[in-house]
Every structure is written in structure tokens, then in C-alpha cells.
């Protein structure tokens, strides 16, 4: 492979797979919150 092609291959991998890795990390840092209750809980006696 030519040097130019190798550089573009590496840049493509870093940007696209790096983008995937970064977005996965960003998502896992924010665990899913539990759902809001649909209605207020019944009053406690």
C-alpha cells in the first residue's frame, strides 16, 4: 500500500471507530434513569 493510502486508512479508522468508542463511553457514563411514575403515588396512611 502507498503511504498516502495507509494514512487515510488510519484516519478513517480513528475517526469512525473512534467516534463509535467515544459515543459508547459517553452513553455508559449516563446510566438510564428510571421512568417517571405515570401518576403520583397513592397517599400513605
Amino acid at each position: 500500500m502507498s503511504g498516502e493510502a495507509v494514512v487515510m486508512l488510519i484516519i478513517a479508522i480513528v475517526l469512525v471507530w473512534g467516534g463509535l468508542a467515544t459515543s459508547i463511553v459517553a452513553l455508559t457514563r449516563h446510566p438510564e434513569l428510571p421512568d417517571h411514575p405515570e401518576a403520583p403515588p397513592p397517599p400513605q396512611h
Binding site: 500500500m1 502507498s2 498516502e4 493510502a5 495507509v6 487515510m8 486508512l9 484516519i11 478513517a12 479508522i13 475517526l15 469512525v16 471507530w17 467516534g19 463509535l20 459515543s23 459508547i24 459517553a26 452513553l27 457514563r29 449516563h30 438510564e32 434513569l33 428510571p34 421512568d35 417517571h36 405515570e38
Partner: protein, 510 residues
């Protein structure tokens, strides 16, 4: 009372299902050639720009619509604004048409996985495909012969898809994708490793990645980049709206859209490496230039690849099984999502349970598929229907959606605040500009461009009478179906637009 809507079991389950839908045949057989043909390494720039300014913004839009209005496309658009309901029905008709022919290609891939064990295509894969396996008629026209060798695997594909759908979102679709997507990555990964270790692989990768910087200033290259992102991500025909309608209320919409968008592109890039490394082997082994071997679509998968597989020095059977099994799995997970749009619509519209909905819809689509396509003329009908429903179904519907939501109804700011309410990555003005300005302009330009090509010469040189039925006729029928269905009254009051939650009600008042 409205039935409790199904939900995804886990966030990972939704991401795998959405990625499974986005990753399809186009990632494997379309992206590598489009990239190669449009500037090679330099294509990366328009491609990434298109991903960030159209692909991911559209994904976020569809997720937010489905999540906010919690319905299949007709119900979602009806709840957005009554007259917009027609768009949803149009999308459902598009999904029906695509499901009917997409299943056929999955059936071919399944058969070729089997053929790989014995390299059944012999010395002339072209003749094998068109004459022995598909028994294609000499010219396009109405159906005149039936091909049992395609019909039986097609029945099998439909049975598997319907069986998965019967088990519902969590028990069927989510569970299937949790198995199939890791499996796809594994088998395709093994294939790529084998491909890059072949003699001459570097020649192919050179052809794919050497940048032609002049391409950056060529408008056609940018149109190709937006087209690839657009058709590859499964946006525009309601799948992501439907899948997102089963998300939990507090789901992170923008974060998952980023993961799914980049996952789709990551697989595409992997496919580019695998396909061009293989093509490089072929070119250097036979002493011909890469541009004479490089191709896309059915020709790449079912003619060029079998030719290359037969000439491999060691274990060609294994390579064939890995390649066609990848195609089968990638196609199957996309097909499931396409049929689910129609199933969800029947459930919403008629208030039926899942089983009858699957049987009505799936059965109808399966019968149409099994009657029309395992025939001598099936390939021509498939080719014409695919081209016209993509251009004047999916792309046109997406254009109508962005114009309707952004400009006619002016609901982007409301959707933006809905997405930001539950998402860690907040969307700002760039999202409004991407959907309000960039996407309509690019899609509008693509539409104008393809219409001009269409009017200059008949697609693939097919007869006008044939195109009026199998091409224009199919695309127009989907649109008319949408308009007609949206005029029919919904039965009962349970399907009337209802506020989805307290927060939504408050939001509506703002």
C-alpha cells in the same frame, strides 16, 4: 383503555436492534463501491460531514418523534398533527413494498451460504446465478414462469421472520438481535481478517483509500455521500419511529442515536476493508486492474464474490460461508425491522393483539413476496421496484417530513426540548440547521438530480410500459395508499390523539 405499549428490555437491546436495522445489505455491497468511486480516501470528508449534518440529526428526529408520540408512523404523525397522518401511512406502504422484495434477496443469500459448501456455482457464477438459480426471463414483463428453487428458501425466510415477530419486541426482536448482531460482527470480523491476509489485499486497499482530493470539489461526490448515509441508516421509512416508540420514557435519545449512527458507519468501513482486500486479491491474481473487478450490488455479492471465492488458495468454502452468512444475517435483522413497522401499525390501528397482527400483515407480505418474486421476471420487478421506491418513496418521504416538521408545523424546537429533557448529549442550534436547512436542500437536490436522470433515459433501459407498473406505479401506489388511509376514520376513541404523559401535556401548553 389503550393496551400497555411493549417496551425494550434494556438499552443495549434497543441499540442492537436499531443497529441491526441500519446495518443491512447496503453496508456490505453498496458502501465499498460508492467510496471507491467517489474519491477513495477523500470520500471520508463528505461522508463524515453527511453523517453529522444529516444522518445523525435525522436519526435523532425519528427517535424523538417515536418516543414523544409513542406510536407506529401513522399514529405518531396523527398525534403530531392530524393532516400529517398521511405521511405515516405512506411510510407503512413503503415498508410493505420493501419487505416483499428484500426477503427475496435474503433468501438468495441463505441459499448461497449453502452453495458455498460445494462451490455449487462452478466456473461460471454469472450463468449459474441468472440461468440456473434464478432462471431469469429474457426480458422484463409480467410473470410467466415460477422458480421453486427460490420459492422454498423464501418461505423459510418468512417463517423465521414471522416467528421472531410473534414473540414481540422484547422476547422476539430484542432477543434475536442480541444473538444475531454479535454473531454478524464475529463472522464478518473473521472474514475481514482472512481477506486482508490474502496476497494482493494491499492493491485493493490502495484503490479504496488513496485519496483523489479533486473529488472534494465535485458536487456529485457530495450527493453520493449524503445518499449513502441516508440509505444506509434506515431513516425515512418509519423504522426508527416505530422502534423508538417502545423506548422507556427516560431513554437517552441523542446518545443512542450517536452510538447507532457511528456503529453503522463502523461496520460499513469494515465492509469496505474486507470487500476491497478481496477484490485486490482477485485483481493481482488475474493480472487485471481493480477498476475492472470493482462493482456493487447483486453483481458484487452473487457474481464477483463467487468468482473470487472459487479462486482462493485455501478453504474457499469457509470464506464463502462466512460472506453469505454475513449477508443473510445483516439482511435478516433489517427485514425484521421493516416488517415490524407494518405489524405495529395494524396493532395501533385496529387495536389487535400481536399474533393476529403478525399473521395478517406478515402473511400478506409473505404471500405477495412468494407469488411475485420466485419467477422468471422476479429479478426485473425487484430491480425496478427497489430503485423507484428508494428514490420516490424513502427519499421523497424524508424530504416531505423535514419540510413538514421544520417549516409547515414548526415543531423542531418542541422536539429539541423533548430530546434534551432525557438525553445527556444536548442538541443545540446545529440540529435545527441540519434538519431545517441542510437536509431539505440536499434531499431536494438529490430528488431533482434523479428525476432528471429518470426523464433522460428509462431506468436500466427497461420498457416504459414495464416501468409504469413495476417502478413509477409502485412508488405512486404507496403515496396514494397513504393519502387514502389517512382519510379513513379511526374506530373508537382509544386511538384519538392522547397526551402521552403529564410532562407532555405541560409541554403542549407551553
Amino acid at each position: 383503555m389503550e393496551q400497555q405499549r411493549e417496551q425494550w428490555g434494556t438499552r443495549l437491546g434497543f441499540i442492537l436492534a436499531a443497529a441491526g436495522s441500519a446495518i443491512g445489505l447496503g453496508n456490505i455491497w453498496r458502501f465499498p463501491y460508492v467510496a471507491y468511486d467517489n474519491g477513495g480516501g477523500a470520500f471520508l470528508i463528505p461522508y463524515l460531514v453527511a453523517l453529522l449534518t444529516a444522518g445523525i440529526p435525522l436519526l435523532i428526529l425519528e427517535y424523538t418523534l417515536g418516543h414523544r408520540f409513542r406510536g407506529s408512523p401513522p399514529l405518531t404523525f396523527r398525534r403530531l398533527a392530524r393532516p400529517a397522518e398521511a405521511i405515516g401511512w405512506w411510510q407503512v406502504a413503503i415498508c410493505f413494498v420493501i419487505a416483499v422484495y428484500y426477503a427475496v434477496i435474503v433468501a438468495w443469500a441463505v441459499m448461497y451460504t449453502g452453495f458455498s459448501f460445494t462451490l455449487a456455482w462452478g466456473d461460471d457464477p454469472d450463468t449459474f446465478l441468472f440461468q440456473e438459480f434464478l432462471q431469469v426471463a429474457d426480458e422484463p414483463g409480467m410473470i410467466s414462469s415460477y422458480v421453486a428453487g427460490v420459492a422454498w428458501p423464501l418461505v423459510g425466510v418468512w417463517l423465521v421472520v414471522l416467528a421472531i415477530l410473534v414473540f414481540g419486541i422484547r422476547g422476539g426482536i430484542e432477543r434475536a438481535n442480541k444473538i444475531l448482531i454479535p454473531l454478524l460482527v464475529l463472522i464478518f470480523g473473521v472474514l475481514v481478517v482472512r481477506a486482508i491476509t490474502l496476497d494482493g489485499a494491499g492493491v485493493g486497499l490502495d484503490a479504496l483509500f488513496t485519496p483523489d482530493w479533486s473529488a472534494i470539489t465535485d458536487g456529485a461526490v457530495w450527493v453520493a455521500a449524503y445518499g449513502q448515509i441516508f440509505f444506509s441508516l434506515s431513516v425515512g421509512f418509519g423504522i426508527m419511529i416505530t422502534y423508538a416508540s417502545y423506548l422507556r420514557r427516560r431513554a437517552d435519545l441523542t446518545g443512542t442515536a450517536l452510538v447507532v449512527g457511528f456503529a453503522n458507519s463502523s461496520f460499513e468501513l469494515l465492509a469496505g476493508i474486507g470487500v476491497f482486500a478481496t477484490i485486490g486479491f482477485m485483481a493481482s491474481a488475474s493480472g487485471i486492474a481493480v477498476d475492472e473487478v470493482a462493482t456493487s450490488g447483486i453483481g458484487l455479492a452473487f457474481v464477483a464474490f463467487p468468482t473470487i471465492i472459487s479462486s482462493l488458495p485455501a478453504t474457499p468454502e469457509l470464506f464463502g460461508v462466512l460472506f453469505f452468512a454475513s449477508l443473510s444475517v445483516a439482511g435478516m435483522t433489517s427485514l425484521i425491522s421493516i416488517v415490524q413497522v407494518v405489524v405495529a401499525t395494524v396493532q395501533d390501528r385496529l387495536g389487535t393483539r400481536r399474533l393476529p397482527a403478525v399473521l395478517i400483515v406478515g402473511g400478506g407480505a409473505a404471500i405477495a413476496s412468494i407469488v411475485l418474486f420466485p419467477t422468471g421476471e422476479g429479478l426485473y420487478i425487484l430491480d425496478a421496484a427497489d430503485h423507484f421506491i428508494n428514490q420516490y418513496g424513502i427519499a421523497l418521504a424524508a424530504l416531505v417530513i423535514v419540510i413538514t416538521v421544520a417549516w409547515l408545523l414548526r415543531r423542531l424546537p418542541m422536539l429539541q426540548s423533548h430530546a434534551n429533557e432525557t438525553s445527556a448529549v444536548r442538541i443545540g442550534r446545529w440540529w435545527l440547521i441540519a434538519l431545517g436547512v441542510i437536509t431539505p436542500l440536499v434531499l431536494g437536490w438529490m430528488m431533482w438530480d434523479s428525476l432528471q436522470t429518470e426523464l433522460a433515459a428509462n431506468y436500466e433501459g427497461y420498457a416504459t410500459s414495464f416501468l409504469l407498473v413495476a417502478g413509477w406505479g409502485v412508488a405512486l401506489a404507496a403515496l396514494v395508499f397513504g393519502l387514502v388511509m389517512s382519510r379513513l376514520p379511526w374506530r373508537g376513541t382509544e386511538m384519538e390523539p392522547v397526551p402521552v404523559s403529564r410532562e407532555a401535556t405541560e409541554e403542549g401548553r407551553r
